[in-house]
């Protein structure tokens, strides 16, 4: 189990260590917590166990007061023993659900560890149910199971499953821009406005409504707003779209480079680009200058969690002067991360995979100023005198773009400020 080997990097950036051991990380079902709010007429039905239901409810506990657009069809002894036909049961659950929620236009059947181990064919189930309920409600499936998907890979699987259902854009269409990855609505609006100022009409995947999903075709150029969307990128490329390579829009520099990569693809004149970004960039630089005073020179350690670790470390190192001492990511997609790796300080220890015990040993040895980790580790590490930041907050908070750059840095300032205030 516990092994760590290092290999030479293929291109720029630090050497990568590979770790294998206990993985203290959410499974792919967790993405439902934000996806079900992003797509306002979609419903996520997990076909799984009581554990799946309990996981989503525990991760989403804070949002419980709104009726959720997700649920779990819990498999029981009868389903496993073959006393009940799983597909008949599923059909009736879906029927009842759609009857109760006529507002649902898009239903995701989400596979789980148990549904995969007992090989329930959800792709076929989705086809069958789609034939029955479309066009009123379309039904598609993807897997969020922990044996297949680590945390944010669940969003990747969900968006990848959407891609084949996107409308086709004719080969004669003018080039179009698609921004890929679930963003907070406010961030999406800001980016749409910036692109509009540059004369580019940007569309977003996922859209906020099931019937507003963007079309795709050979003239689609897409840019990833989140770094964990490898499967979605492949699916878009399979439909002829081409990816715009860029770092991710975290921080002033990251946002500028990201916007610039898109602008260059669409031949936006330099003056027009500069004019569009100038106000936002100035605001971001102003707020970051204040944060730099508080964060400059501080060390930071990332446990593997959301796959945002590398872009975050790059942002914190280059824009507020922090020192990333140990950065772990569950998976490293070199192609999608090439621009980021090139900007990461060469002395950073970079790890792919997870071995939580080994990581705990290292964090205790290095005693960083801030540790970014999962909710299960945060309080125990605080009790050991380390200052922590919950990784999941970085997915529940608008952090991309110019006007959130200061907020993003502030997420790291606050735990430090809190520790220095308290006299108890």
């Amino acid at each position: 189990m516990n092994e760590s080997v290092s290999i030479r990097p293929h291109g720029d950036g630090p050497a990568v260590h590979h770790e294998r051991g206990q993985r203290s990380v959410f499974c792919g079902l967790t993405g439902i917590v934000w996806l079900h709010r992003k797509i306002q007429d979609a419903f996520f039905l997990v076909v799984g166990s009581r554990t799946c239901a309990h996981l989503i409810q525990s991760a989403a506990g804070v949002m419980i007061f709104a009726e959720p657009r997700f649920a779990t069809a819990i498999l029981d002894q009868r389903d496993l023993a073959g006393l009940a036909d799983v597909h008949d049961e599923l059909d009736s659950v879906v029927g009842r659900l759609l009857e109760r929620r006529p507002d649902i236009k898009l239903l995701f059947l989400v596979g789980s560890c148990p549904s995969e181990v007992i090989k329930i064919d959800l792709v076929r189930a989705a086809q069958r149910l789609n034939a029955k309920h479309a066009p009123k409600a379309r039904v598609i499936s993807y897997s969020g199971s922990g044996i297949e998907k680590t945390f944010t890979e669940g969003e990747d699987a969900c968006l990848a499953a959407l891609v084949p259902t996107l409308p086709a854009e004719p080969a004669t269409a003018a080039p179009s821009l698609m921004v890929v990855g679930a963003l907070a609505d406010i961030v999406e609006d800001q980016f749409a406005g910036l692109f509009k100022d540059m004369g580019v009409d940007a569309r977003f995947l996922p859209a906020r409504r099931a019937d507003a999903m963007p079309a795709v075709g050979p003239n689609t150029r897409f840019i990833l707003a989140q770094p964990f969307l490898a499967e979605t990128a492949r699916a878009l490329e399979a439909r002829g779209a081409r990816r715009i390579a860029a770092p991710y829009p975290l921080g002033a520099e990251g946002t500028t480079l990201w916007l610039k990569a898109a602008a260059e693809t669409f031949d936006v004149p330099a003056e027009k680009f500069e004019a569009a970004i100038a106000p936002g960039l100035a605001r971001a630089q102003m707020t970051l200058a204040r944060q730099r005073e508080k964060l400059g020179g501080k060390t930071i350690f990332f446990f593997p969690d959301s796959q945002l670790e590398i872009p975050l470390a790059r942002f914190l190192a280059r824009e507020v002067g922090m020192k990333p001492v140990d950065v772990s990511t569950p998976y490293l997609h070199r192609a999608l991360m090439a621009e980021e790796l090139a900007m990461l300080p060469a002395e950073t220890r970079l790890n792919e995979g997870s071995d939580v015990d080994a990581q705990l040993d290292r964090v205790r040895e290095k005693r960083p100023d801030i540790t970014v980790c999962g909710l299960g580790l945060a309080n125990p590490l605080e009790a050991e005198g380390l200052t922590t930041k919950w990784a999941i907050e970085l997915l529940f908070t608008p952090i991309q773009g110019y006007d959130q750059a200061g907020d993003l840095a502030e997420l790291f300032t606050r735990p430090l400020a809190r520790r220095s205030r308290l006299e108890v």
Partner: protein, 518 residues
Amino acid sequence: MQLTLWTYEGPPHIGAMRVATGMKGLHFVLHAPQGDTYADLLFTMIERRAERPPVTYTTFQARDLGTDTAEVFKDAARAAYERHQPRAIIVGASCTAELIQDDPGGLAKTLGLPCPVIPLELSAYSRKENWGAAETFYRLARGLAGERKQRPVRPRPLANLLGPTALGFRHRDDVIEITKLLNALGVDVNVVAPMGATPDDLTRLGDADFNVVLYPEIALPAAQYLEKAQGQPYTKTVPIGIGATREFIAEVRKIANLPADAELPTSNLPWWSRSVDSTYLTGKRVFIFGDATHVLAAEKIAREEIGFDIVGIGTYSREFAREVRARAELNGIEALITDDYLDVEKAIADAHPELVLGTQMERHISKRLRLPCAVISAPTHVQDFPARYAPQMGFEGANVIFDSWVHPLMMGLEEHLLGMFREDSEFHEHASHLGASSAPAPAPIPAAEPTAAAAPTAAAASSPVEPQWTEEATKELKKIPFFVRGKARGNTEKYARERGLTTISVGTLYDAKAHYGR
């Protein structure tokens, strides 16, 4: 296959974790896929524990399924022993690992680890969290308590406190309160378990003269086993509320052969309840839902000690459905035995209670329905683990219960003023201290405020013609304070339907008020 939005109980391995995390020196090796480690956050975040739960997850992935997950388990168990040096290990499987049938118990045996290894069969597809906790505790007691012990006659008898676990509703403080009470009665506490006990402590369980079962959902199988194996009687009364605490004291005195002369602590509840300020509590309509232990206790307190009316009662603990049904009958109502959150929401909306006593789920249902609510049972949230001492059991527990049930309600005089001057523009619902202003917009399903445009929809099926509200009647209804408006509306519509009225006028509203008036 059961459609579930929110669950009252987690899977059985969460129950096993609650036992292991409550104990010291015990380690749990759980065969489970990547992702099941989410359970750690229940303990570190909700309960604010400062240590990671003592659980090693094998976190196998798809690529391991193709090779050898059994080997993954053995490696994890060996590494866990080396790293944590526990005094005993429990091994089990979560739902997915149960399907791949690796037999963690058998595998662990082959490792020859130098400590007791107790296998658990957790039946993830038919059982739930509390059962998992009870089964785990029973297996531990059975595995570690040893042969029947000879007990000397002691001037102060010894008792074990059984049932408290990690993540239990007020377990931390109940243990302190009941220990104090037992000490005052002349009883010393031998072992508290699972919470705070080591595996070595469990080998001393047989030294006690009797067992106190604090939470039957968790402790009953272990107590029944110890009765047989160690000849230890156990208490049947759960000391929540004044009456129950007095019964518990009598029961302990009988079991332990103690005279009834010790000076005992007292409670403020009886006088607080008898003082005139509490008159307004009389006949308030309450809905009670939670685990069976807390529901049964709350029913008795609500009825006998505060003077409420019980308009709904139910539990998600199917194992104790019979007791809860019997208690419902006593109140002339039918018990709601379900773990379907939507059923509970509907029952609450239909019952129009003035106070809901429930779990974290009912707290949210109440927010949606704009009803005051107090939490009486797990599942709970971070705010149900207060910094202060707040037991539910014993005489101090009764004080805590009085305060926490009464505070969400509107005070007597405040209620009168609202009734007298309904048109005062500052007397709308957002001005209330009940905090309705922070609640989200009312859900469209039950008890939405009627408007002239949208006809009320509740229970339409039984009547051929649904009575329509006149504009004046709708306006008049809005003058009724919001916390009783739902009930007034329901009663008026029922009254109209029963008389075959097609319209509801202001007169109908007041006819119904007179008809149903207390």
